[in-house]
Amino acid sequence: MELYLIIILILMILGSIYSLNASDLLSAVISYGIVGFGLVIAFLLLQAPDLAIVQVVIEVVTLVIMIAAIKNTQSKIPKMEFKPKIAIYYAITLMVALIFVLIFDRVTGCLSQFGADTMRMAQPYIDGAADTKSANLVTGVVLDFRAYDTLGEATVLFTAVIGVLTILRIKGKKDK
C-alpha cells in the first residue's frame, strides 16, 4: 500500500520535472497530466473516492483549457545555452532544496506517523453523522456541518467565472 503510493509519487515527480523541462508546450501540458492523474490514483489508494471523482473531472477540464490556450501559439521554447555560471545556480538551488527538505523532515517528525489513528478532530463529525441523514461522511461535512464554507466556495467559483468572461470578452472598451 505504502509502496504503491511511493511508486506513484516518484512517477508524479518525474512527470513534473519533464513537464517543466520539455522543449515544446504541448508535451509540457500532456506530461502535466501525469501529475494530475497520478493524484487521482493516489486518492483512490488513500480511500478518498469523492476526491478522485472530482479530481478526474477537474484534471480533464484543466487540460482542455490549457490546450485551448496554447492551440494557436508558437510553442517551441528556445533552449538555454550552457554556461559555467548556470552550474553555480544549479548547485545553489540544490543546496537550498536540501535545507528545505531537512527542515521539513524535522517538522513532520512532530506529526503522528503515516497511517496512525488520529481521529481527535473528526470524532464529533463522525458521531454527528446520524443527524445529517447522509451516508457519505464527506458530503455530510461539506453540505451540512460546513455549509458556509461551501457557500464561500460557490462565491469564489462564481467570481472566477465572471473574471474569465470579463478577461476573454472579444469586444472591449476602445481606447480614445
Binding site: 505504502e2 509519487l9 515527480i13 513534473s16 513537464s19 517543466l20 508546450l25 509540457a28 501540458v29 502535466y32 501529475v35 494530475g36 493524484l39 488513500l46 480511500q47 478518498a48 473516492p49 469523492d50 476526491l51 472530482v54 479530481q55 477537474i58 477540464v61 484543466t62 483549457i65 490549457m66 490556450a69 496554447i70 501559439t73 508558437q74 538551488t93 532544496a97 528545505f100 527538505v101 521539513f104 523532515d105 513532520t108 506529526l111 506517523q113 503515516f114 497511517g115 496512525a116 489513528d117 488520529t118 473528526a122 453523522a129 451516508a135 457519505n136 461522511l137 464527506v138 461535512v141 461539506v142 460546513r146 466556495e153 469564489v156 467559483l157 473574471g163 474569465v164 478577461i167 476573454l168
Partner: protein, 112 residues
C-alpha cells in the same frame, strides 16, 4: 515518513518552476503542481491504516474510517484550484493576443 518527503519534493519542483521558468504556461503548470502536492499532503495526514472510505453502508456501520475532515476541506480546495488556474490561463491567453509571446522577458521588454 519518506512519503511525506516525496510529497514535499513535488512541492519543491513546483517552486523551482515558478522561480526559474520564463514561459507563462510553465509558470501556471508549476503553480498547479504545488497546489496538487498540498492537496495530497492533507489526504496523507488524514489516512488511517486499514481504514475504509468514510461511507456508511450496510454492514459497515462501525468499520474503521479514514478521516473525513481533510477530505471535505480538500474537496473545496480542488474546485477553487480549478477556478484560479482558469483565471490565470485567461490572463495568459490575453497576454499572448496582445504581445504575441509567452516569454515574460520579452513581454517586459515590449512594455517599456
Amino acid at each position: 515518513m519518506i512519503i511525506y518527503l516525496l510529497c514535499f519534493i513535488l512541492f519543491l519542483v513546483g517552486l523551482y518552476g515558478v522561480i526559474s521558468k520564463r514561459n507563462l504556461i510553465k509558470i501556471i503548470i508549476s503553480i498547479a503542481i504545488m497546489e496538487y502536492s498540498i492537496n495530497l499532503f492533507f489526504i496523507l495526514i488524514g489516512y488511517v491504516e486499514g481504514g475504509t472510505a468514510p461511507i456508511i453502508t450496510k454492514g459497515f456501520e462501525n468499520a474503521k474510517f479514514v478521516d473525513p475532515l481533510p477530505q471535505a476541506m480538500i474537496l473545496t480546495s480542488i474546485v477553487i484550484g480549478l477556478a484560479t488556474t482558469a483565471l490565470l490561463l485567461a490572463v495568459a491567453i490575453r497576454i499572448y493576443q496582445k504581445y504575441g509571446t509567452f516569454d515574460i522577458n520579452k513581454i517586459k521588454d515590449l512594455k517599456g
